[in-house]
Assembly symmetry: C2
Homo-oligomer: 323 residues x 2
Amino acid sequence: MIELDDVRAAARRLAAVAHRTPVFTSATLDQLTQCRVFLKAESMQRTGSFKFRGAYNRLARLTVEERRRGVLAYSSGNHAQAVALAAKLLEIPATIVMPADAPSIKLDATRGYGAEVVFYDRYRQDRLAVATELARQRNLVVVPPYDDPDIMAGQGTAALELMEDVDGLDMLVVCIGGGGLMAGSSTAVKGVDPSITVVGVEPAARDITRRSVEIGIRIAVDVPATIADGLQTTQPGELTFEVNRRHVDTFTVATDAQMIAAMLLLFTRLKLVIEPSGACALAAVIAGNVACAGKRVGVILSGGNIAPDRFAHFVTAAQAPTG
Amino acid sequence: MIELDDVRAAARRLAAVAHRTPVFTSATLDQLTQCRVFLKAESMQRTGSFKFRGAYNRLARLTVEERRRGVLAYSSGNHAQAVALAAKLLEIPATIVMPADAPSIKLDATRGYGAEVVFYDRYRQDRLAVATELARQRNLVVVPPYDDPDIMAGQGTAALELMEDVDGLDMLVVCIGGGGLMAGSSTAVKGVDPSITVVGVEPAARDITRRSVEIGIRIAVDVPATIADGLQTTQPGELTFEVNRRHVDTFTVATDAQMIAAMLLLFTRLKLVIEPSGACALAAVIAGNVACAGKRVGVILSGGNIAPDRFAHFVTAAQAPTG
């Protein structure tokens, strides 16, 4: 388990390097949801998502010997870019294992931060096996995407900032993939004020944390069919699950269509670019899946890394006539 | 002419009602432009553009008798929404003259602020004639979109905020349509520090202010073919021209393709939704049309009102193979 002090220590480590992301409000959104919504725009964090917080906090705590060896992360998404930038800032060699068919925009971004990219064939090879073998051969420190106390504590700094910047929050709504952002956020919230309700949101196609908490063991599923590519984890993390089952008050879901609707509202009214995973928590609030009437509700928009052509595709899909 | 004190007085009027819009920076953008760029996101101003500043400043200065009569504005764009919201906040009846085929998103937004919308046929009727006749019949006060001292002074508050929030600016780059934003901005800049270079950017398809300043009289053109729908004014304003010819140091242009490139960079790297007109000033900087190497450059992103489907259309256009 991590404690509020771990999150506070992470915040001190991040103070000079991470952005203090802005908080946005919208009269339209408040009217629509019948509550007062405060949006924490982690899309504007360095590398475009909250992942930089955890990655930097983890890397900053490596020993001198570990730094010399270098780090390895396996991800085609936001964690890859986060580790690559954190490693660059701390002058640590970084190796990122990515599928050979990863989008060039993500490949270029990761290489742009100076990381070495090693490809694997995601149809023939197991990512974890490839990464583990490579780390062993090269003697690299593996940086896990969420199931790590320093990663969790780092992610929690977003919620800490939100509570500092907005007085009297009644509720915090956070998406859950592997559960790192939620583990850090819920630890921060319950540590500062246990009366604040913590709500976890998962894609409707993959509500594994909710179901795991219900039965008390971590269930595993196949890769779920959801547009929220940042929330496609197939099992709750071992550590994150223990934190989240204790701190999260309520679980709910949002469908892909609800995420797209939230993305479009964020685009048209708040002028914010948010990726599907990043809109998941807000989508549940807008859809009426969170009992928030009259409350002051913090919502974390976890990231904004979506290519313009993918966004354009969602716009077209949202406008297609439905049966 | 207006003076710095007029802009400062406008800032006091706006303090409690307008957003102090955030300023964004990007390491990628700095690397690309070889200067230090500070982006003032007026997309995040109320109603989604800088226009609220001028409209509110104008309406706040109406007499009690004028307020009772009500106001009229003719616009299908950002000025309409700005006047509608300012009127609502000041409890003044507002009438907006709009083309019958105005996009429903803009119509709904204007009506959402409580304004009465009167349509005209833009293929058969002259907008100014319709508006003037209606104002006469109903005894309404016409709120011009730019050619008015209070409108100009209000728009200048964006530049004033930027100079307060960013130390040691060397240059300010601002788009020019009717010239109201530039008139206010350049007055503010030259009033605070005449050594700051002021650069005006127009669509390449319509560089009428540059050409008018060169020959010393306001030239008029047909409605220009540019995607920058906020900058399609066919002649510089009478008052704005006098201010801008005196205060603007350099004029340059940006093409439609350069505006789209800037919009896509703002989307992918800054996670900001900016409309074509709003990206015009930055487009010129990125295209290398502004001599800014090594300088600290303020750029106003003037607005973010673009429908998702229009944005999607630009993405597709940008990716189409070019001959």
